[in-house]
């Protein structure tokens, strides 16, 4: 049996090897090794790690995606960069899942941030495939984001969550010790910080838009980021720590999650870039999972699986179309991709066996979210079909088919109601949905304007004080001059004035004769005697 620690080291070593060799073979090897290790019972050999039920799932999805990437990224530039960060992404997610020590948890969590940032930068800024948006100028912003803008938006937004998580973890570690499994009740503030961390990572309102522009990354990255890593870390954090959080946390998670589920589902209906449709769909499903993660963890776990398989496959299918048509707005889809989109849709709404199992205990309102899903995915199914049978379809169809033999249930009839959402596939352009309720304006205009005002204020204040300090230099000169003047006056008084006075007195005294002294001395003696006599008579 291999130790889990060794598997993690191998995952990061593979990332380094792939960075240097730029081939991606180490990624495949790492995924196979990890999967084989876990399936043969690899476990932690130190107290720093704990087994995670998601570890196999993540390794399996990662394996499918790296195999797919070998087709998708053929001929692409910056392959070392791409494969290196993919490896870090995988290793970080596994570290986050299995960590029981708070610092390892933080490292895994931050590793996800940094890897997603790096992967968003894979395409060069001038490369059309790296852009997100249609270039329209509305709401005061330009709806076109190159990879460098997307990466910056992503890292700054998720860093809010990471900062909150560090403070929450640090506070708990200080109180209960370094091992998460030994922690007990979290206070209100710490609970709020944990929730903030989960919301930012899982792209919940209002942090949704970084996930949309993260579509600047190549499609395999999106497949990985949306299905089993990064955003999933949000609800998985809630599952890990849910039992510690304050009682009100479940209600807040429900409100934010449910709001995001509907809002992002509607946004997905308005998007015309298929990757953006799927991105909004991810936020929507993450909302659903977040909403129930604290109330029904078992259900949330199953939803994480089903959504992970479906979304990874959907991204790979859409990527297949992008790969074939060389366009971010593919006008036609390969047949295999369409089959996958149909199967993915059925898995998401709960009609395929794995989806049915996931939705078995789901609350009724999720059927409405499913109806939106049928609407936005149905639109893709309406597009024309092209013939392309490059074997990149194998991994994504495997992901949609195989899980149904492992996790299954019969679909409750009510779920079929979601298919009525198919009519939404015929909905025309709705500007407010297309513009994602103008949420990007918050991130591209309101927040930057406020922040710019803040730093400009700091700069102005700083410069003013700096100038005042430098302007005080003449004051120092004035003080120095005053001291010089005073010094000269004292100097003159002591060395010229006094000396001259003494010299003059001395010269005057020296010029007098002896009889004059005797006369003065006699006079003085007479006065003293007279005074003594007067005083004696008086008594």
């Amino acid at each position: 049996m291999v130790a889990l620690e060794l598997l993690l080291i191998a995952a990061f070593a593979a990332a380094l090897a792939d960075l240097l060799a730029a081939r991606g073979y180490a990624a495949v090897a790492a995924a196979v090794l990890f999967l084989a290790g876990l399936l043969t019972g690899a476990g932690p050999s130190t107290p720093f790690l704990k087994p995670s039920q998601f570890a196999v799932f993540v390794a399996g999805v990662y394996l499918a995606i790296v195999v797919y990437s070998h087709f998708y990224m053929k001929g692409a530039e910056r392959l070392g960069w791409f494969w290196g960060w993919m490896g870090v992404f995988f290793g970080s997610m596994e570290l986050f899942l299995t960590a029981d020590h708070w610092l390892l948890l933080a490292l895994g969590w931050a590793g996800l941030d940094i890897a997603s940032w790096g992967l968003i930068l894979t395409y060069r800024d001038g490369d059309e495939m790296g852009y997100v948006g249609d270039g329209a100028r509305t709401g005061g912003i330009t709806w076109l984001w190159p990879p460098s803008s997307s990466a910056f938006r992503a890292i700054v937004t998720v860093e809010v969550g990471t900062a909150a998580l560090l403070i929450a973890l640090g506070s708990m570690a200080l109180r209960y010790g370094p091992f998460v499994s030994g922690w007990r009740h979290a206070g209100d503030l710490v609970s709020a910080l944990f929730l903030t961390a989960a919301f930012a990572k899982a792209a919940q309102l209002p942090f949704t838009d970084w996930l949309m522009t993260a579509m600047s990354a190549p499609t395999p990255v999106s497949a990985l980021l949306h299905s089993s890593t990064m955003v999933k870390a949000g609800p998985i954090l809630l599952l890990k720590l849910g039992h510690l959080l304050a009682g009100w946390a479940a209600e807040v998670a429900f409100l934010v999650g449910a709001a995001t589920a509907f809002a992002a589902g509607l946004m997905a209906l308005g998007q015309r870039e298929p990757k953006l449709v799927l991105a909004a769909s991810t936020a929507s499903y993450l909302g659903m999972i977040t909403a129930i993660a604290l109330e029904n963890p078992h259900e949330a776990v199953l939803l994480i699986y089903a959504h992970g398989f479906a979304k990874a496959a959907l991204f790979m299918a859409v990527g297949h179309a992008i790969h074939v048509t060389h366009s971010r707005f593919p006008e036609a889809y390969p047949l295999a991709a369409k089959i996958a989109i149909a199967l993915g849709m059925l898995m998401l709404v709960g009609i395929l066996p794995t989806g049915a199992l996931a939705k078995a205990e789901a609350p009724l309102w999720t059927v409405a979210v499913s109806a939106l899903t049928v609407g936005y995915l149905g639109r893709m199914l309406r597009a024309p079909t092209v013939g392309d049978w490059e074997p990149m379809w194998v991994p994504y169809l495997v992901l949609l088919v195989v899980p149904n033999f492992l996790l299954y249930a019969a679909p409750p009839p009510v779920l079929f109601l979601a298919l009525a959402g198919g009519v939404l596939a015929f909905l025309g352009d709705v500007e407010v949905l297309k513009r994602r309720f103008y949420l990007p304006v918050l991130f591209d205009m309101v927040a930057p304007t406020a922040f710019n005002a803040l730093w400009r204020l700091a700069a102005v204040v700083d410069k003013a004080v700096d100038r005042a300090l430098q302007a005080s230099a003449p004051l120092w000169r004035l003080v120095a001059n005053a001291v010089t003047l005073a010094d000269w006056l004292v100097d003159a008084a002591l060395h010229d004035g006094l000396v001259a006075l003494v010299r003059r007195a001395s010269a005057g005294v020296a010029g007098l004769r002896l009889d004059y002294y005797l006369y003065v001395a006699g006079l003085a003696a007479a006065i003293i005697i007279a005074v003594a006599i007067v005083l004696g008579v008086w008594r």
């Binding site: 933080a106 490292l107 931050a110 940094i114 940032w117 990466a151 900062a163 700091a458």
Partner: protein, 425 residues
Amino acid sequence: MYNVFLLAVALSGVVAVAALRLGLPAALASMAAMFLFLIPGKETLGVLPYVGEVSVAVDYYKLPFLAVSVVLGLVVAFYSPPYLRHLGAPRWYYGVHAFYVLSFLFIILFENLIFVFLALELSIITSFLLIWYFGYGNRRFVALLYFIWAQVGSILFLIGVAISGTFAADVFKATGLASVLVLLGLLIKMGTAGVHFWLPYAHAEAPTPLSALLSPVHVGLMAYWIWRLRAEAGWPLETLFIYGLATAVYGSLLVFRETDFKRALADSTVANMGLLVAAASIKDVEVSYAATALLFVGHAFAKAALFMLAGLYIVALHTRAIGEVRWDRHLLAAGVLGFVALAGLFGINLVGKAYVATGVPQALSAAALAVFALVSTAAYSFYLFNQMYRAGESRVEYPAEMYAAILASALAPYVLLVVLPLWLH
């Protein structure tokens, strides 16, 4: 220890004097001899009237500060020749550089605070000379500005120590004015918000190899003394922690005003000194030490790498504007490693930030400030990286030894993360 200390002083000192004539090889030899200072132990060198016992000590707590000083001193010296050729600097530069590095060791090694003051003076004089002769722009003005602020800082520290009447670090105890003066002196030397006005000038206009020591090492060493003296210094630690976070926010905001690579890095040092002050003020003394040491070491390597990168651009492209640089994949790698570590998003810097997070008081306003501080320190790093990244990719010719030094320094925070379990136990 006594013999080792004297041997180390004699060797490194004499060879540093020789370096004034012989240049780089002698300076490297002098700094190599400084590794002798890292041998643990404690020894009394003598007892002086009024000043009392003068001793030196090396322990687990001091080692990271000492080791980083020597290693970065060597790395930067190795980096310097192409830069100094570009500046037209004579050989004696290296001798002064070696003495400057020696002063770092003395600042940490001495247990007698009067002697710590003397070490501070040595560091000020050596760095002042290098700015005065080899700085940029209005270098004499900047050198004087730096000299006066640094003197004010170290003299306030000295007066505070003198008033306290306790000169040995182990028994240091201060109240009232002494307590305030010692802290104020150290904060001025660190350049925290309100007493930072000298720092952007000095660190940006110094010759870049000096900037790569001033900003990463020199100012950060004061954090050790804040941590060391805090037990009986009578400082309000929670207020100091909040002040540190506020400095981190303020320094981060200042970065956004800059277009000059070196000035941006200098402003970023103000932010990082804020984090270090917060780290040194965490209530739990061991956690506080871990935070201080990790942030100091991580910041030192990342900041030195980035200053050296800025210097490489000065030599290779004759520009200091971050928006005008160019990069090939090697320079991009160095930039990514340096900026990610500086952001505290990975490497030991992340662990340091995590430890700082443990000290956040349980109040909503404090937590909000802490989130803002942690986010803003990360945001400016990525903002600067974006400036560099958008400037564009192209072929750049640069000396290999400069790049080797940058890469070694930029990799250090990540390599140290791997060996962290061996370090912190």
